[in-house]
């Protein structure tokens, strides 16, 4: 009788929710918080806008054509970094991470929720920024549009999945916000290279971005797996 009671007390209680439902609750929570405060989205949007304007001053319209892919992704990369830092900083402030460590819910659900939330946020930003690029740089796409969208989706996922993971890592360091770009940029150089090349290829119509798309897809699969396998370790590292 006593043994049973101890066993019942020490056993991890089963969570009566599926993994996807848990992840979805996290996404909904993040989006609701963001919708009510809009602090991340506003600063991210404004930052990207400033980057676009500064670039348009720095480069002549004609000379910026060949480096267009690079400009677009640099603007997105920096604003993404900003958003990612904020997404974990909020959880740390409110002690959500500690709550998560003691909760029986799988840590991967929290991670998936964060990634999807950030992905939605960054994709929204990209949709709003695209017209600005068209206006400021007189941008036209020679290649098919669906390829551009595919490059953007895969590239954003690659950035966001690694970025969410490394943001969780960098908030554990002493110089929190400073650490994320230092960790994220070297890791994602291969992905950024192929995003930039792919985007430039579609925009200029020179060459097909199929190789880049395959490369990005491979990158996403490998690093998403690695992030899921290691996230619990990072969350519990003390």
């Amino acid at each position: 009788m006593k043994a049973d009671a101890i066993k019942a007390a020490t056993e991890t209680p089963a969570v009566n929710m599926s993994f996807t439902r848990l992840a979805w609750i996290n996404v909904a929570k993040d989006l609701r918080l963001e919708w009510r405060s809009r602090d991340v989205f506003n600063s991210m949007m404004f930052f990207a806008l400033v980057v676009v304007v500064v670039f348009s001053f720095a480069f002549e319209r004609d000379e910026s054509k060949p480096v267009m892919g690079g400009l677009i992704w640099v603007a997105f990369l920096f604003s993404t970094t900003m958003a990612l830092n904020q997404s974990w900083a909020r959880e740390l402030r409110n002690g959500v991470l500690d709550a998560y460590r003691v909760s029986p819910a799988p840590a991967e659900a929290l991670f998936l929720g964060k990634v999807v939330g950030n992905f939605i946020l960054v994709s929204l930003l990209e949709c709003l920024m695209a017209p600005l690029f068209v206006v400021f740089y007189n941008l036209t796409s020679v290649g098919p549009l669906w390829q551009l969208i595919l490059v953007a989706l895969l590239g954003t996922w690659a950035l966001v999945v690694n970025g969410t993971f490394f943001a969780a890592m960098s908030i554990r360091t002493r110089n929190r916000e400073l650490m994320l770009p230092l960790l994220l940029l070297p890791i994602s150089i291969p992905a950024v290279l192929s995003m930039v090349t792919g985007t430039s290829q579609v925009l200029s119509g020179e060459g097909s971005p199929i190789v880049q798309l395959k490369f990005l897809a491979g990158f996403c699969v490998i690093f998403t797996t690695a992030c899921f396998l290691l996230f619990e370790t990072v969350l519990n590292a003390e």
Partner: protein
């Protein structure tokens, strides 16, 4: 026992390094098209071998740490990453010195093999920065997770190598294009530098263990780069055609040895600091 073994290996490393350098600079046949500058190859390639080996050791040690949580594995990971960064710095400095003479440019930005090496260097420097700035207690865990990511990037970039063009000479070991004398001298140098690198890593590992025991996780920075850059500033402005190839050869060798010796001096200074701190703590 440990000390005697260390000294014996150090003596062997010194002998082999002296012999290998002599063979490389004096005995090895002069290359037909590049002349004497090609002799940088004997310090460039072994440094790359040691650097990449160290990064591999770092990966294995990090996996071991994630699995067993042993402090020894963590010390090995820290030591191998730092030594790897130093050797990788030598690769990145001797390479451009050779390229300036052979290609006429210091760096070819769209060459994937160059980018790979630079990226590896950046990754492991960020690893060292993370080790340095993470809060005590979580360092080993976060660092080993990052090490796994860093090593995942390597095969990906290797695949990318095939899709992009490269100017870098392809590996020639074992092909009939490489003079057998050159190959033998390269092997002597590779063995010499592997022993040299392992010794430094061993030394650094023991230091890390000491640091762990007195819980003084001090800052380690790879001191590579600065010393080498000071040794060769004069050549940076000269046009390649007007310069004696020997200047490049000596520049490459001086830069490489400047970095190695500079790193050893840095380690000695750190060792002195650790000993002092250990004495103060009464250990």
């Amino acid at each position: 026992m440990k000390n005697k073994l260390f000294l014996a290996f150090a003596a062997l490393a010194c002998l082999l390094l002296a012999f290998g350098t002599y063979e490389a600079l004096v005995v090895a046949p002069t290359e037909e098209t590049m002349g004497d500058v090609q002799r940088i190859f004997y310090v460039h390639v072994p440094a790359a071998t040691v650097g990449f080996t160290m990064f591999f050791v770092n990966f294995i040690a990090s996996l071991l740490y994630l699995w067993k949580r042993s402090a020894r594995a963590d010390a090995l990971a820290a030591a191998s990453a730092e030594v790897g960064v130093v050797f990788c710095s030598v690769v990145l400095i001797t390479g451009p010195i050779w390229a300036r003479y052979a290609w006429g440019v210091w760096w070819s930005a769209w060459d994937m093999r160059l980018n790979t090496t630079l990226m590896l260097w950046l990754l492991y420097v960020s690893y060292l920065i993370l080790r340095r700035s993470s809060t005590a207690g979580s360092t080993s865990m976060l660092a080993s997770a990052l090490a796994v990511f860093a090593f995942l990037d390597v095969p990906i970039v290797y695949m990318a190598n095939r899709w992009f063009r490269t100017h870098h000479p392809a590996p020639m070991i074992g092909t009939p294009n490489l003079d057998p004398r050159m190959q033998n001298i390269l092997f002597i140098n590779m063995i010499a530098f592997l022993i040299f690198g392992s010794l430094i890593a061993w030394f650094r590992y023991e230091m890390e263990r000491t640091a762990q025991t007195i819980d003084a996780a001090h800052i380690q920075r790879a001191a590579g780069g600065a010393v080498g850059m000071m040794a060769v500033p004069a050549m940076f402005l000269a046009a390649p055609t007007h310069v004696n190839p020997h200047a490049y050869l000596w520049g490459g060798y001086l830069a490489a040895w400047g970095i190695y010796l500079g790193y050893l001096l840095f380690l000695m200074a750190k060792l002195g600091r650790l000993k002092k701190e250990a004495a103060e703590l009464g250990r």
